[in-house]
Subunit: 157 residues, 2 copies
DNA sequence: AGGATCGTTCACAACGTACTGAACGATCTG
DNA sequence: CAGATCGTTCAGTACGTTGTGAACGATCCT
């Protein structure tokens, strides 16, 4: 519809693509941020973005499972979706939790090396520690720090 | 060659794939962690991983530009590569810096909205703040905190 | 019950990317 | 100089993923 709104939606599509998510997911998220009212049915989203209902159906399910959007209870069989408040934080957390696989791989590598292979061990250990750090420390403190940051932004007492 | 080493290498390939990087990049990184000596020529890597020299050439260039590996000065024309010590931290930083694009998109979206569209503004602002937080705060403190964490791990005084 | 609306699912087409093999330029060795 | 080695580049192929259209089941409205 609106030219500017489309530009915004497409920018979010590009952003999501760089994060490894499908473009349509970003466009849906963008649309749900600017739409009025906040909740939209699958068909409405399909029309607004100019993509098939099939795409919206599959992608929005992924978003729902990831906690980015939530389905509202409704009387009709229309499925109304809206952005989960604070839901995008989960996405970032999931992104960081991927580091666990790196830790596991590193531990496996260390189990293969002899104790005297110190140089190789050092390389793997540094890699493992960084994965561990990214996952553990950042992940542990993320929710809390984010809450502090957020409360410092808005003017509520 | 070794069955176990291949398993380790392939695990890192999978890990890198989940981060959106090519599988070969992860396998190269894995190989460079366990090889002896630490530096390897392009042809050696090609043989060890069972991939074409063409792949190694292009992928290792990407890794070099990203700061994950570095080329060693050498007398011959053999290009010797090794893992950049602490180089993987850069990868994580780059990953986090991708959030900047989210900030820009959000600012653009806000510029489109009227001042009275408070609900939409709230949604976008939360998204923007989270991107800003992920990029700015985490990114700012990453190097320092990682150094602290690292120094606490190894036993050096 | 008949008709319409809404979302889901399937097979298929379109696209981008990762990888290969061959040709090439450049450098060392005998 | 001839031959071999090493890395780069290019065109082409193979693969996985994204998005579509059509058929379907289910629900609501007269």
């Amino acid at each position: 519809m609106d030219e500017d709104e489309n530009a915004f939606v497409d920018r979010l599509g590009l952003f999501f693509e760089t994060l490894g998510a499908p473009r349509t997911m970003g466009r849906l998220y963008g649309r749900l941020m600017i739409c009025e009212p906040a909740h939209q049915s699958l068909t409405e989203l399909s029309i607004a973005l100019g993509v098939s209902k099939a795409s919206v159906s599959t992608v929005i399910r992924m978003m729902q499972e990831g906690g980015m959007v939530e389905r509202l209870p409704t009387a009709t069989r229309r499925h109304h979706y809206r952005i989960t408040p604070g839901g995008f934080a989960r996405v970032v957390e999931v992104q960081l939790s991927r580091m666990r696989a790196g830790i596991d791989a590193a531990e496996y590598g260390l189990s293969l090396l002899r104790p005297d292979q110190t140089e190789q061990r050092d390389r793997i250990e540094e890699f493992r520690d960084l994965c561990e750090f990214s996952d553990k420390h950042v992940h542990e403190q993320f929710a809390q720090r984010w809450a502090e940051y957020r409360s410092g932004k808005d003017g509520r007492p």
